[in-house]
Symmetry: C2
Subunit: 323 residues, 2 copies
């Protein structure tokens, strides 16, 4: 019997697994779930696969993020990458590498959060791995699989001059939430409405998953999820496609203005341009075919890099070994 | 330009990735490889998926294992799990979470080793993730995907009374290699031939990958790869199938005798019964259908657990939080 007051070092691996498997609801495409050597999934002939990880002390701080926050965020990061290919996420594998002194409650909260988020997205938790790690180490890694249902994947390299650049979802909220936490966050008083939205999006970002399929269906020419900042991710599309992503200051302004009450003028602009972990989708569409719910941010132009109102921008944002 | 004398903290993430991508050879089924939001793979309708990780200080010690050893071993662990389902491994995703003080040379040796091993197995390195980690932390995680080519997966729960139990591959070599290292290993003098084989198998185990498909094709009723020790893994088959795995002492004896010159009598027996990380395949077959290259170890009997010559055995072996 596993209780939440125990540590991982005090329970058996199999006991812990038995106690968390109930958090993982079955999905029709999951033919063999956790508990065998590997999982087996039904696919339509092309499978999308991606992986992303979070490391305590680097990708989260326990003071700011609960186990449930970490699980929800890492799940979104992975599912957004599948969506950014035009795929429908179908399954995840979850790895926890933890100091044996980690409370069982932490591991169970993580698993419950991932299980709930996966169920909401119609995604199976198909398997995973559990390893002990040295003192203080806590690492979570997810691999997500998805299905293209016969469609071609939407890559980063297909943007054409004349295409329209559009975003689905918010800009800068996660970055603004992080800025608030770095300034002292909740400690300085109850956050305003927009501040709370930013804190929530930083801790548990959501991604417009269905919009990835929507974009693919109308012929999006390139797509990426904004994980490392608008400028940096737009620059990736520009470089892969051999074009310039020409953003409009007027189109960005409402995104900046929405954040000014949360973090002030200068930080709001910086968050919109360079805030990471947003997980909105940035795509390019043939002119005239931007689907409902997407906001136009500019156009694809000849040249290279990213501009705002014609001014070249230095891509800045998240680099894992240079923070 | 990335040089081997630098640390991960001194080079850009994208520079490092550019320097390791050439180690990953293309495979026909890889439709989109590393560098986009996710990879895309061709599959035949059912995909096998598994993940396994190694943590420095827990799963390896730098004194005993090079980066190339770690890469080769983790790759085998993952591919063996796909084989144990009767699948053909097709692709891996590789995650490295590393202290920025880690030498670039370590990361490149790891990537080269995984790339070379994957190429030998006809497996694509489809993508991965790179994260910084706190001081001293070094974690590698692989997710492997595989294809069933229309076959049913071979699970742990299909063993029937009367089936023959057989193994493909060695027993106890990795455990014996570990025992030698724990006793001082190479330091006490040049290892004998069998000792060197054990050290090699501990550092870079190989798995009989094609034998998984071979077993599935002739109707194996249950299969598992020996990752946590013969007794523990046989017990998993016994429990999942609701049967007793009845091993024969005479059939095990040659495996023990082969290791006696390496580690002595008592340790040889313990390694064969409980040594982990061997990655041989253990399967049950309808009587009379054991394929070539497999060695019979016993039979499936009514009852539960594992016996040797009728004596019940306590499954012992690797538990990640109880070593």
């Amino acid at each position: 019997m596993v209780t939440e007051a125990q540590t991982l070092g005090e329970v058996s691996e199999e006991g812990l697994l038995r106690s968390i498997f109930p958090f993982f609801t079955l999905q029709p495409g999951l033919l063999v779930g956790p508990g065998d050597d590997a999982a087996v999934l039904a696919t339509s002939g092309r499978v999308v696969a991606t992986t992303d990880s979070m490391v305590r002390g680097r990708d989260w701080l326990d003071e700011w993020s609960s186990a449930a926050d970490v699980g929800a965020k890492l799940l979104t990061q992975n599912l957004a990458d599948v969506a950014a290919m035009g795929g429908t996420p179908t399954a995840v594998l979850v790895t926890l590498m933890a100091d044996p002194a980690t409370p069982v409650a932490w591991a169970r909260d993580l698993a419950r959060s991932i299980g709930e988020g996966a169920a909401r997205a119609g995604v199976a938790v198909a398997g995973g791995d559990l390893s002990s790690a040295p003192a203080e180490v806590l690492v979570v890694s997810i691999t997500a699989l998805g299905d293209l249902a016969g469609r071609q994947p939407v890559l980063r390299n297909g943007a054409h001059v004349g295409d329209t650049v559009a975003v689905r979802g918010t800009l800068g909220r996660s970055g603004a939430g992080l800025a608030l936490l770095q300034r002292g966050g909740d400690a300085v008083g109850p956050p305003s409405g927009i501040q709370q939205q930013c804190l929530d999006h930083h801790r548990r970002p959501t991604a417009p998953l269905a919009a990835g399929v929507q974009a693919a269906a109308v012929g999006a020419t390139a797509m990426i999820d904004i994980s490392d900042g608008l400028l940096r991710d737009a620059d990736r599309v520009a470089r892969a496609s051999g074009v310039c992503v020409a953003l409009s200051g007027a189109a960005l302004r409402p995104h900046v203005e929405a954040l000014v009450p949360a973090v002030g003028d200068a930080a709001a602009r910086e968050c919109v341009l360079s805030g990471g972990e947003e997980h909105s989708l940035l795509a390019t569409f043939p002119a005239g075919s931007v689907p409902a719910g997407w906001q136009v941010l500019g156009a694809v132009a000849p040249g290279s890099g990213v501009t705002i109102d014609g001014e070249p921008q230095q891509p800045r944002g998240w680099d894992h070994f240079h923070q």
